[in-house]
Structures are given as structure tokens and as C-alpha cells.
Amino acid sequence: MKKTNLTVEEQASRRGRRGRPLRFIRSLGALAWVAPALVFVLVFAFYPVLYSFFISFFKYRLTDPSHQRTFVGLGNYIQAFTDPTFVVAVRNTLVFVVGAVGVETLLGLGIAVLLNRELPGMALVRTLLLAPLTLTPLVVALVWGALYNADFGPLSFYLKQIGIPIGRGPVGEPSTALASLILVDVWQWTPLIALILFTGLRSQPTELHEAAAIDGASPWQRFRFVSVPLLQPTILVALVIRTMDAFKLFDSVFAITGGGPGRATEVVNYYIFKVGLTFFDMGYGAAMSTLLFLVIVGFSAAYFRVLNRVWTNV
């Protein structure tokens, strides 16, 4: 028998060459398994996004009798930046995102800390906390719309009973309308942040807390210097999820205010809906959608950058 003197690398290389067809067949098999999902994503996610980007460069009204699609270059994007309604909608959307996500995060953190304490009945509280999350946002908006009604809403009724004048109601006053929508969002989505942060708190190693306690750290110091730093990645994940969602605010504006009073609650997603699906101005609607998409991607990228840094440090 002929003896071969091959190095380890050469042997591995030969094995690799022999294994290549097999690996290729295995890859094809794997591809077959993921193909349906891949096709689904390509057809229902990628294609619409790309097509939307494409038509954003055209003057294209779906119900135009001439059925013309005229190339306008960046015309629709320029129109967006000079459209007073879009500018107001961007401002309102940013206020909403910062306000809603900020309050939800602070409240969510507080609730998560409470949930993390072993108090009687806490299991029931955790379960009840899930209730707002199970409701359809449009239903939540309709219920809050009824609550806010200045003349026959229960909220207004009880406020009047205790002598608090409510005038035109929370959503009837331009100064309080957007805050009222933030409250709706906070009611529904704070539990989500609370639950995410609660799981983050639960997964923290107890040894660090015990060591800090032995070193004489107070409960606040343990929270500030042990819990919060360890929780940072979880907080960022919650922020990413909620920020992306808050930018897409639609239901409560649609069901409660219609963008009013005046332009007080005009937000980008609702304006896109009107332009795209009421006026059928698809080109302009697509341009605004692309801008919104880019803003969300920008925010998400920034969050992930911070997240990577935090994870490295933790």
C-alpha cells in the first residue's frame, strides 16, 4: 500500500474538495426550505418598497383619466419639503415619538422594577398588564375617542362633577390634542416596554447585586450603578421597537382627531394615507413614504450603533 505523506492542511483541503458537491446539494436543500419565506419577503416586502421608491420619481395619480405617469425627478421630494402640511406633520410626528416613547420608557422602567419585586398578587398584575397589548389599536382609539368626548364622554362627566372645566375637551383644544393622543399610546404600549425591561431585570445575575449590597450600596445605588447599566441593551431594544412603531402613528389620528383641530395632530403616516389612498396621488405619497422610511432607518441605525457600543462595554 502506497504511503502518503500529506500535511494536515493538505488532508483538510482534499476533504474539502471531496465534500464540496455534497455541501452544495445540502445548501440547495436548505434553500428549498427557506424558499417560500424568501419569495414571500421578496414579493410582499422588497418589491413594494422598491416599486414605491421607483414611482416616487413620477407624477402619478392613480385616478387620472389620462393614465399618464410623468417623470419628475426629485420633484415630489422637493414638494414635500415645501408643503406646509408635510412640514407640520413631520414636526408633530417627532413631538409624538419623543413624547410617547420617552414617557413609556420611564413609566415602563418604573413598572418593571415594581414587577421584579416579589409581592403578593404580582403574577396576576403581570397578566393584567398584558391586556392593553392584546387590543387592536383602532379599537383602543375608538374607546379613547368616546372617553374624550367633551359633552357626553365619561371622562368629561366625572371631571365636570369634581368642578374641573374641560371646555372643548382634550382633543378639541389645539394645545392639548397631541398630548391626548400621546396618552392613548402610553396607555397601550407602556406595558410592552415594562415587560421587556422586566425580563431584562430578571436575567441579571444576582451575584452582582449581592456583592454591591455587601459593599454597602444602598437600594438606589444598586439600581443606579448595577441594574441600569446592565439593563441598557434591553432598554435600547425596547426603544428601537417602540420608536419604529411610534413613527407609524395612524389609528388614533384616524379615529379620534382626523389630524385636527386645525393641524394640531397632523402626522406623517396619516398624511401619506390621505394623499395616497384618498387623493390617489401615488407619486407624492410614495415620496413621503420613502422619506418616512429613511427617517425610521436612520433612527434605528443610530440605536443599533449605540447598542453595539453598550454591548461591548457590558
Binding site: 383619466p65 402640511t85 368626548n149 359633552d151 382627531t257 382626523g258 383641530p261 393641524r263 384618498t278
Partner: protein, 417 residues
Amino acid sequence: MRHLRHFVPVLVLLAVLGTAAAQGQSQYAGATLNVSVESDQYSAAMQALAPDFTKETGIKLNVSILGYSEIYQRAIADFVGHTDQADLYTTDIVWSCEFAQNHYTEDLTSLIKRDAAELKTDDILPVMWTLGSCDNEQIAFPLVGYAGVLAYNKAAFDAAGLQPPTTVKQLVSDAAAFTKNGKYGIVMNGARGSPSAQDYMFYMLMTGGSLLDANGKPQLNSAANVAALKLYASLFQYAPPGAVSYSWGDRVTSFGNGNAMMMMDFSAGLDYLKPGKFPVSGKAAITTPPVTEGMKPVYPFGGWGIAINADSRQKGAAWDYIKWLSRPDIRKRFVELGGQPIRTSTLTDPAMVKAYPYFPVLLKAFQNGNGDFRPRIPEYPQIENAVGLAVNLVINNQETAQAALDAAQTSVEPLFK
């Protein structure tokens, strides 16, 4: 002889049709029509009548009820994509020219002319034809006509020794007189968008305003329209505080609960006139809207038509359904089930008038109805949006009537170039 076998299917078909005809069934018996209906008072009537149509003709109906935005979006997607999702659509009066110019739905003009005697077209009130007409085309058949009316709390008016207002001046003074002791003289739709835009348009028409000029160009900021908006905004001092955010349902609730004494309304539901529906039931009445002193009476008119999808492959069966639905006897049942009339014979039938004592008011309103106070043009959604914003800004004291309507005019002008 062997060629006879080619005739066998034809003979079978003739036999089936003959049997169907013998049973009084349609030549389209066995077909299934998909009907998309907007969710409104009349939609329940259409659903309730569907089994009768099937029994009589052998044509099955799938009636889908959709919200206003949904049916519009679905119809446009269906028409543009030529997907033939529904054979028939109920169509809002303001969609008429958009659908006609795009040939989305079948032009029924020749069919109506051909079957005029069967349809008894002379019995259909002239204004009803605006529910689907554009230029010389009739792209939808009249289905439900809504008259703009003034609803008022008759008991309160009687107690105060007042007659319902016939002029705008009286309307304002009555509204002021009833605003006391936690009650309000009038209630409007103040919510931004369609509610405030359409409500304002009632008052605009009543005071001689118009959104388009004689050439069909927008004149949202005409002197008459600005004056109408000032009047409309001033009435909010006599309305419940929350009226600035009201939509149609809130307005009816406010009136129905006896909180407000008057409101302008379309005769789509008139639930507050039905016994037991609201605290004000039995105490409320309707009358034709007041107009500016000396003005020829003209009243808001709206409603829905029913149209055949131009891509439908069952146009014959669809036309049979439209004809059946417009039959005078079916129209009476349609009204009893919650629909609204289109025929003079329905509105003047003694039994119907006994059941619906307000029919003479509707007849008068229809005879003087204006179906174009909301322009039936493709640009209507943008006009309504611009007017809705302007009205809302004014009633919230954020803009003057002139400035708000100037901005609205500027925003819609490019659509007409």
C-alpha cells in the same frame, strides 16, 4: 345525423332557459353577483332583499358591506387593476365624474333608454339622476337619495311658541334663544375633514355660495363662501363646546339626547324620528333648510347610485338586479327596510306617507335639490380636504375665514391647470 350531436348542448341550454323562463326566472339563473355596498342605512335593506331577488330570478347575490373609505379604495384598486372583484358597486354621488371619465363603470344610458317603460323612469325624481350622471353619461343608477333637511326639537319650539326657521336670520336668532340652562340652540360637525367640510357646505348653499364658478373653476374664497364660513363659525357659540370635534354620529347623539335643538342633516337615517331610538324621538321633526332672505329655495342633495363594474363578466345579470331593485313595489319594501326613496310614487303613496309623515318634506327638498353643491368632479376629495381644514382652523380660532379659504383656494388651484 352525426352533426346533430353539435346541437345537443344548445338544445339542453334552450331547455334550461325555457324551464327558467317558465318558472319566471332570469336567463342568468345560476349566476352569482358580487355586490359591494357602502355601510349605510340602506345596506341592511339590500342585504335583506337579496334572498327575494334570488328566489325570483335564480341569480345569487353576495352582498359585502364596507366602510366609506374601504369601498372607495377597494373599488379604485379593482377598476385600475381590472380584477373584477365585484360586479356591482354602490357609488357616492361625488364619484360620478371620476368614474365616468375613467370608464370605471358601465355607461347605462342606452340600457335606461331601452328599458325606460319597464323602469318607469318618469317616476324617478329628476334630481336623482345626479346620483351617477356626468356630462351625457349615466354611470350609476339612482339607489338612495338624501335630502338636506333641518332637524328641530318640535316640542321645544312649540313650548317656546316658535315656528321652525325658514330664513338664515331666523335660524341664528332661534339658535341664540335656545342656548340657555345647559341646552344649546344648534349643533354642527366640527371635526376636521369630511365632517366639517360637508356641514359647512350645507350653510354655504343655504346662503348662496358655491365652490365652483360658472366655468367649473374653484372659487373657495369667494365673498359668499367667506361670509358663509363666518356665519358657520359664529354658530358654534350656540353649540355644545365639544361640537368642534364632533362627527356625524356625535351630532346626532347630541340632538337625539335633547342637548341641542337644531341641526342640519342628510335624510339618510333620521333615527331620531323613529320611536324609542332617542330621548327626543316623538318630539323631533324635520323641515326644509332655511335660506337667506329672498333667495330661491335650493336644498342640499346627496346619496348613492349603483353601478356595474366595466370589467364585470356578468353585466346582463347585474342590469337585471338593478332593474329589479328599482321596481316600484321593491322600492317601497326597500324604504321600509331602511333605504331611502328615489321615486315620486313612493313619496306620495298614502300608506307610505302615513308610515313616514315627513315624506312631503323630503319631496319638496328633492324637487328643489342641488346635487352639485358638493362638486361631482374627480378633484372633489382634494377640495373637501382643503375646505375641511379651512373650516376647522376657523372654528378653532386659528385663522380668519378669509385667510383660511384663501389658503384652501391656493392649495386646489394647481389641480385645475
